[in-house]
Symmetry: C2
Subunit: 271 residues, 2 copies
Amino acid sequence: MGFHDKLASAWRATDSMLCVGLDPDLGKMPRSLGREPSAVLRFCREIVDATAHTACAFKPQIAYFAAIGAERELEQLCAHIRATHPNTVLILDAKRGDIGPTAERYASEAFERYGADAVTVNPYLGTDSLQPFFARAGKGVIVLCRTSNPGSGDLQSLDTEGRPLYERVAHLAVDRWSSLGEVALVVGATYPAELARVRSIVGDLPLLVPGIGAQGGDVEATVRAGRTTNGYGMMINSSRAILYASSNDDWVAAAQRAAERTRDEIRAVQA
Amino acid sequence: MGFHDKLASAWRATDSMLCVGLDPDLGKMPRSLGREPSAVLRFCREIVDATAHTACAFKPQIAYFAAIGAERELEQLCAHIRATHPNTVLILDAKRGDIGPTAERYASEAFERYGADAVTVNPYLGTDSLQPFFARAGKGVIVLCRTSNPGSGDLQSLDTEGRPLYERVAHLAVDRWSSLGEVALVVGATYPAELARVRSIVGDLPLLVPGIGAQGGDVEATVRAGRTTNGYGMMINSSRAILYASSNDDWVAAAQRAAERTRDEIRAVQA
C-alpha cells in the first residue's frame, strides 16, 4: 500500500488528523530517564505507545537524534513504530535537498535505513533533486511549501511573476510532481490564509501542517482552511505540547491526555 | 581564527582554490577496501593525506555516510582532518534548513559533533532558520545560491520583482547575513554567467563552487567568472574526478595526480 492510501486508511481508522512529532530534547525530557542517547529511545517509545490511538502519523525529527549521535536509537524507534503500529504513517522529518546522486543517498537514508513511509524535502534545488525520492514506488515525498517559522516569507512570499514563491511550489506539486510520485506539501498552521490558498490550488493533496501548539497556530482556523471535502486532508503536527506536557512522573499520561485533547479539538471543527 | 581568516590563510599557504569533496561511494571505491562502513573511513583518510597539499578545503558530504550508517566513521574522519591538517578548512556538506529550534540541533551536529569550520545550508526557510548557524562565533555558513544541477533554475531562476531568486539570495548575503556571521555562497561552476553575476553582487565574499569534473563545469570559465582581485575567492570543488581517478591498486597516487592537475589548471587561469 502506497503512502497516499496508507494515510487515507490511517485517517479513517483513527478518525484523527493529528501527527505526533518526535523531537526528543534531553534538556526537556524527564530527568528520571537519564541523559544518555538511550534515554531518547525510551522516551519516544513511551510517547508512541501512549498516543498511537490518537494519531494518523508519527514524525521523528532527525536533527534531534543527529545532534547527540543517536542514529541507532532512531533506527530502533522507527523499527518499533513499524512493528507495533504498522497502520500509522511514519514520516522522517529531514528536509533534505541536494543534487541527484546525493539525493539518491538521502532517499536510501530515509526509506531503506529508517524504513519511513514518507520524508520531508526542500524544493530549492528543483525537480531533478526530488526525482530520487519520487522514484521510490509508494513512498511519500513531502515538499516544503510555506513553512511555519516567522521568517518563512523572506523567500517564500517573494512575488514571482504574479504569484508568491510558495504558490508556485504548490502549482509545481499538482502540475508536475504528482505525476512523478506520491507528493504532499508542508504548510504552516501559523499562516491560515496561505494554507487556504494552497488548498485551493492543490485539490485533495495531503498537507503536513506544523505550527499548532508551541508555535501558536490556531486549531480551528487551521482545520477550516485546510480540510478537504471528506473532512480529512491534513497531518496536523504537534510536538512539544505533547512531548513535554509534564516534566513530572506523570509525563506519559500527560502526553496521552494532550494528544487526545488535540485530536478532539481537531475533530470538533472537522465535523 | 574564524572561517574567513582560516580560508584566506589556506588559500595563501597552498596557493590553491581546490576543495576536495569526500563523497565515498561503496560501489565505486576500490574493491580491495571491502564493503563495510570502516572501508569508507580508510578510503577517505588515504585521499585526505594524499591531497592535503593541493587543497584549501575538504568537504565531506554527509549523505554518503548517513545512507550506510557511517556517522561514527564521519566523526573519525573529521577528527583526522582537524588533527593532521589543521590549516585546511573543513566543510560539512549537509545543506540543512529547518525552523529555529531544529536548526539549533543541526548547528550542534555540524559544529560540535563533527567539528566543522563551515556547513552548507539551504535558504528556503528564511533568515531566522539560518540564525542558529550564524550565532556560532567564527563558524562559516555557506548558503545555497545557484546550485550546479540541471534543474536548479526551476525555483532559483524565477523572476522575483525584477531579479532571479538566486540574485536575491546573493543580495541577502551581503545586505543582511554578512552582519550576522561569516557567510559564503554556493554557486555552481556549470553556470559561469550566473557565477560572474553573483561575484559582481557580493564583492569579496567566498564562494563554494561545485560542478567541475564529473558535472562538466569548465575550469577556465569558472576561475575567470568567480575570482576576486587578490586572485582567490573560491573553494572550487571536485569530488568524483579525484576520488575515483582509478579503481585499481594505484588509486591513491591517481587521486593525488588528479588533485594536483586540477589545482594546476585552476592556478594557470588565476595568475
